[in-house]
């Protein structure tokens, strides 16, 4: 009894899983970006230069959303450092000017 009787089906499932992870990652980033925006945007009135970090993180988030698909690293380590590295800067808080 062959274990991989339908290779096309396995490939399709693998592709769907990768697609689901990809969409999930973008949604997570979008949520975190929304939170970042809600904290930084009000501080721009006091500290106009905070607009620069806002632009920097906005461009990053935008490019993640429209990036080109391609073969990606699948290890947990690669994903963990990528997510922590991308999301951590969105956790900063403005301080009173």
């Amino acid at each position: 009894m062959p274990t991989n009787s339908n290779p096309d089906g396995a490939i399709a499932r693998g592709w769907q899983e990768a697609r689901a992870v990809d969409v999930g990652e973008r949604l997570f980033l979008l949520l975190l970006y929304g939170w970042f925006l809600s904290r930084i945007l009000p501080s721009v009135a006091d500290q106009p230069y905070n607009l620069l970090i806002l632009v920097s993180e906005t461009v990053t988030a935008l490019l993640v959303l429209i990036r080109r698909p391609g073969p990606m690293a699948t290890s947990l380590y690669a994903w963990a450092i990528a997510i922590v590295g991308t999301c951590a800067p969105l956790l900063v808080l403005p301080t009173p000017a």
């Binding site: 905070n50 970090i53 920097s56 990036r67 450092i81």
Partner: protein, 252 residues
């Protein structure tokens, strides 16, 4: 409260933003957060530095930290910069599977330079240690930050065959200069944070008194030019808990 003149921090943020935007313009949609192969880029800043976008991020974020200093922000960026180094390693590993990328570096992917890695670790240690006042002794923290600052020059001065080879290929020199510039800024920042934390430490055991000072400070900010008179009144009358001794001293 800013740790540096606003113009300095704003210039850092603008420079970093321009570097990262330029790198993104050359990457276009080949951008991603997980190590992936979306084609090798050779143009623009990628001729000089292997990860110019990350360099831009660090400079921008340092500027933001100078404008918005807090232990929370310092910890957030320390984590972000540490994972950034780890991501560079992972990307190099992944991209080395690409024949076009291997061709760029003479048959193998360029590893992270151990000197730059050591510099970053020492500086992050120095900055977080100084910021929290909790890691190591003051001397060891200063040594850590100083070593991070000095390393690029030590490496350059050593004039090893490796350095000469890389410098002559035109790839190493800009990287080293950029890294050095970043660390000069980081060192200044860590020293400023250290000064702040050392100033605040004596107040830590008497939190009530500290809180009272913060309230008075906030009231002073609100009252603008009336603040000094109001502050003198509070101290001399001893009307606020924690100011009794000062009031007594004032009367004497």
């Amino acid at each position: 409260m800013s740790l540096a003149p606003v113009a300095v921090a704003a210039s850092m943020m603008t420079t970093g933003l321009l570097i990262s935007l330029l790198a993104k313009a050359f990457l276009r949609r080949s951008f991603g957060i997980v190590a992936a192969s979306r084609g090798v880029r050779r143009g623009g800043p990628y001729q000089l530095v292997r990860h110019p976008m990350y360099s831009g991020y660090v400079v921008t974020q340092m500027g933001f930290l100078l404008l918005n200093p807090s232990l929370w922000n310092a910890a957030v960026y320390a984590l972000a910069w540490t994972t950034l180094v780890m991501r560079i390693g992972e990307e190099e590993k992944f991209l080395s599977q690409d024949i076009a990328y291997r061709g760029l570096s003479g048959g193998r992917a360029l590893p992270i330079d151990p000197g730059d890695l050591l510099t970053l670790i020492l500086l992050v240690g120095g900055v977080t240690g100084n910021g929290s006042g909790a890691i190591g002794t003051p001397s060891s923290r200063k040594l850590s930050a100083s070593a991070g600052l000095a390393w690029p020059w030590i490496e350059r001065a050593s004039a090893s065959p490796r350095w000469i080879a890389r410098a002559s290929s035109g790839k190493r020199a800009p990287t080293c200069s950029l890294v050095s510039s970043i660390f000069v800024c980081a060192f200044a920042m860590s020293e400023s944070i250290a000064f702040m934390s050392e100033s605040a430490l004596p107040l830590a055991p008497t939190r009530g008194r500290h809180r009272c000072l913060i309230d008075v400070g906030a009231a002073a900010n609100r009252a603008s030019d009336e603040a000094p008179a109001a502050l003198r009144l509070i101290i001399l009358t001893g009307g606020k808990p924690g100011f009794e001794n000062m009031a007594l001293r004032g009367r004497i």
